[in-house]
Symmetry: D3
Subunit: 254 residues, 6 copies
């Protein structure tokens, strides 16, 4: 089984850290490849960054032969577009982390990087039906590309969040924190969920069950059409080379 | 007052139709300019198209001197990113149409183009708090670029929706329907809301009240950083030339 | 275009202040008339006051020739009854203010007068689908008829609310604050929304779009019947003299 | 114990029918008095009627010496204002019926009179937290003052609602149906809840427990103030003669 | 009329205290019998205790001839199973207390025993549609079997909750507090609702109205089948001896 | 890694079928043991059956040395009690199936056995935050112990549900359907999710990540106390022999 993890920002250091965590958690026989796009923002810290990360992310996903994909940014950028683009499952790390956290406690606190990303985390909690489990979203006020080295600040923010929110689980709100999960858990004293690990295992589980994104409705392959200008190469037929050929379309007799 | 309407797809015919509707509804002294990007999808009929429309859309908005902006696609693509990018208000047509419809009836039906876009309309209804007013989302099964000429199909879908949903208002679920609003309303017999008109007037109202997007939190200007590759020119400092200079930052003494 | 603003309490000083704000914001060619009833409570500070303000309010609305109406009290008293009574749109200032605030920020704080009115504001936020945007409702503890002169107390309450709620927009929770909007915004440092202005512009926009309250369902003209005693003159046929004659009833062929 | 049931419309025939049902269900030693106002609409079939029924209703309640009050109209008009006005509990029949129905089944259907009243029933279901138990609201299309004699139409509507909604309980959506509850239940075959009975017993229960409306917040006696014109006599101090004297105000040492 | 109150733990002292409160509140002619099971946990302070209390509770209920039943533990254990088991109404004290509290104020605080039971109280608030009225759930940190003697701690927790939550009503979150209701109310100064009293009166009301659990759907008698081992005697046919014989099954002609 | 799957009913045939599915899906190096209790109901088709299945289920779980547990009944009986009882993760199949289904489509249909179990499935959808993804719950009207052999009826119910609900994924609503998943998916033409498989992989994933149920709050080991009568052996200290010793209690310095 091949799993492709895409870090949607262009930082190779962060991509490598994500890759180490992803590879370490995958099961026997699972090949994990972690890449980042050649275009787009160096880090994702605003709605603007997030929107501009999506073309590169989709390009990475479309050009991959993997059985399933992980989007390794806590804003889950481009998730629905990616699901239209390939047959195999695509999982965002916020989605995976929040759903995992709800399995091991009564309520979780999300600890993210910059304060301005808190709204996006709440939006995702609502979209995924997890708002009832999300007790709070806090920021540690460290930029994305510095957070891996700032474990003390993250631990402090986690402890403050658990106390203020009355939560019993922590969700790490940035892929840059993945390498520190075990240390943070040890120091905070409640289960700490990292979305990179959770998403890799979720994709692995889906592939093992033979579950792919449903092609029966909204997530069917997008209708082909021309694209212009800078994005001409993203025209649907050019991008999707043979994907979706074996989709869930062979229903017996509906 | 200058209002800039952006059609996020690259169809000039559709852009012109939107421009006529937008100009016709604007108040005395309001200059409306309607444009479309030079890059991206010819029409927006999937999550994929929508994601790829955003760079071009943001480029249009960032390069404009307008007092406020309208995003003229019913998926409201890039809305939050755009709000970070300019000082003046930015309104999506789905947002404007749904909120307007809730003012003139008990519950509305959205009539959109392709069936696969229904999920997005529901997502927006939830995001905007309008799900309690949205009685249903139906498709007329006409592609975006053909819908202006397919008024009979739209009318038939509207009538069916009003009857099935028990609604008393219709929301047009595509900017391509804007030129047909009056005819549809006459033939369906309930108020019919077009988001292009509603959004233009909403921007005009906000500008008249002196209200701009709050710069106090999530929608402050995004942190500057390098962008790579195909999207290098989208790096935040390059794009935002002087915007936000007179934002809501002069609080007396907090 | 004629817009009729009704202050549902009987204070002429407050009516005049509302009238100045309403007239100042209306567009070219819009005639704004602001009145208050000749009967009912001097100010609205309880559910009881609100209920008793409605007959006078409805009488004002029914006797008016305007194209649209504004109900200028933050409890939006009598809103649904008024919509049954006249053809043109009727907008409450709480409704208009909350929906406007959600367009310029992530979440708003409502600042109202007396503490006991907070429940009503929350009820309206829920009814309008705005509870997800409403971060808090606070009181400045100044009675309605004194609030215009108590701008310092309002500013203090707004600042406290923004800090406690983590909001980025303020909604003024009383029509008596309308004349102070600009000063409050300047001193608080986030966008401040006044419902009187927002509602006038919302009515103006609806009239310009040709949108009236749907007569296809719940808001059709009420069935005629006798009224007794003190309220005999409010019998439906007596009150509605010719209104609704040109309603949305001429559907082609349903 | 004295319970006062107020029918907010002015129909004496309907008031007598309500009175018979209310008296029949009350416990030993409970005196039930049922009245209707001397002013207002002959029946309540619109938001307008409902709004205009409130002054008369409040006048009835304020002038009564009862230990608790029932508002016997399914729109629960004036409920919150009434709670401010007297010390004892005040219960609306929609509130009582919906909460009772949720105790004896998985989900209920409301069957009301005219189609245009359905929206109000849904609004109340949401306000009372009962929307999750409310499977549907249907109309039997019989005016309020004719519904007592139209039991076949009500039974037919109840049967249709139970089948369409998949419900296992029926809530009668008009006080005019109270005398027919037992027959409807016998013919429909599921529990049928009448709000008049439910509300009388709810008030009786609250009084027996010594529970009155909390005076600690929103429902404290309204601030006194002048009222003008036709409603001059409704000024708060004139209306409340001695009520609330023994309220929940004697907290030991807060 | 016979009402059976079941304390699901095995403490006879607590059962007697509950019995005194239940008997004292019941109306003339109502016989109240209060029992506890001969098997199961000594007190209910965890999900585990609660689950293990249910067989004994159901055994008590099934062997009773009462017209209606009360489950006197604030977790409402076994409520839905009990409704399948007997014809008459079955009411839990959390359900009764929360719904009663919503009738006498804007929002209530629940004060429970151990901190770990707070989650269950919130779950029930959501299940019953009462979450919008529940302002907070606090613990007084006293074990169930000691709480009757710890009235000062309960009063302190109630006062703190009312202040922190901004509530105007208190709900007692344990049947062990029932004997102290009046004292707590006197000392806290807001209405205090005890679920034992509320549930007894709710059952009495339902019986008086002739309302029993609907047998038309989910709560019909469970399908008979063999049970094994320790629980062999709980097999459905053995347990239900003649109950449900006169259920709501005689619908005229569906 | 050892995973223990418990079928809470006493059918050995069904337990074996579940065991085959569970073992087949588990990853390399994972030992799966599937058992059923020696006491309780032969199948679970009512709230009553479900409640009486819990003691046997908890006994199975408590006496096991596994790293994690699966509760293989779609009502997820005893889930929270089980989480208090052992250190490792415990997952219910409804929980696992619903959360998995939301990852591969826009909305799912649950297809269950008897109509009377539909309410429980909806309750769980709400509890898990999945109600927004659950488009409908249908029954195939086949008893639990016959459903494995009734694949045609299940397929027919799935097809009808997908069409009626507009869903793009099916969730199998009974552990007895697990062996038929692949055939049902092939014949229905949309992804079909089996909770047994999904839960086994979810437990495997949690164990691999080192995540156990949080011991910081509600799910800490239950307070010890005596149990009486038939259930005497379930007293907490007797049952939990050494579990939780290595829980998340070693926080560094909170």
């Amino acid at each position: 089984m091949k799993i492709h993890v895409v870090n949607p920002n262009t930082s190779t250091a962060m991509t490598e850290a994500i890759g180490r965590a992803a590879s370490a958690i995958a099961g026997p026989g699972v090949q994990v490849r972690t890449t980042c796009p050649s275009m787009g923002p160096a880090s994702i810290e605003s709605h603007y960054d997030e929107a501009l990360s999506v073309p590169g992310l989709l390009s990475e996903i479309a050009s991959s032969e993997a059985d399933g994909h992980v989007i390794a940014c806590f804003g889950d950028p481009g998730l629905e577009a990616a699901r239209e683009l390939v047959d195999g499952p695509v999982i965002g790390i916020a989605e995976a982390a929040m759903r995992t956290a709800a399995l091991v406690g009564r309520g979780f606190s999300v600890v993210t990087t910059l304060d301005r990303t808190r709204g996006r985390a709440w939006d995702l909690a609502h979209r995924y039906g997890m708002a009832g489990f999300c007790r709070g979203v806090s920021a540690c006020d460290v930029p994305v590309l510095e957070v891996e080295a700032a474990v003390d600040a993250v631990v402090a923010a986690c402890r403050a969040a658990v106390a203020a929110d009355g939560s019993d689980v922590v969700v790490l709100g940035c892929a840059g924190m993945t390498s520190q999960r075990a240390e943070i858990e040890r120091r905070v004293g409640v289960p700490v969920v990292d979305g990179v690990q959770a998403a890799v295992l979720q994709v692995e589980s889906l592939v093992r069950m033979g579950l792919r994104t449903s092609a029966a409705g909204e997530f069917a392959a997008p209708p082909p059409k021309p694209y212009s200008g800078l994005l001409e190469a993203f025209a649907v037929p050019a991008l999707r080379n043979g994907h979706r050929s074996a989709g869930y379309s062979a229903a017996e007799n509906r």
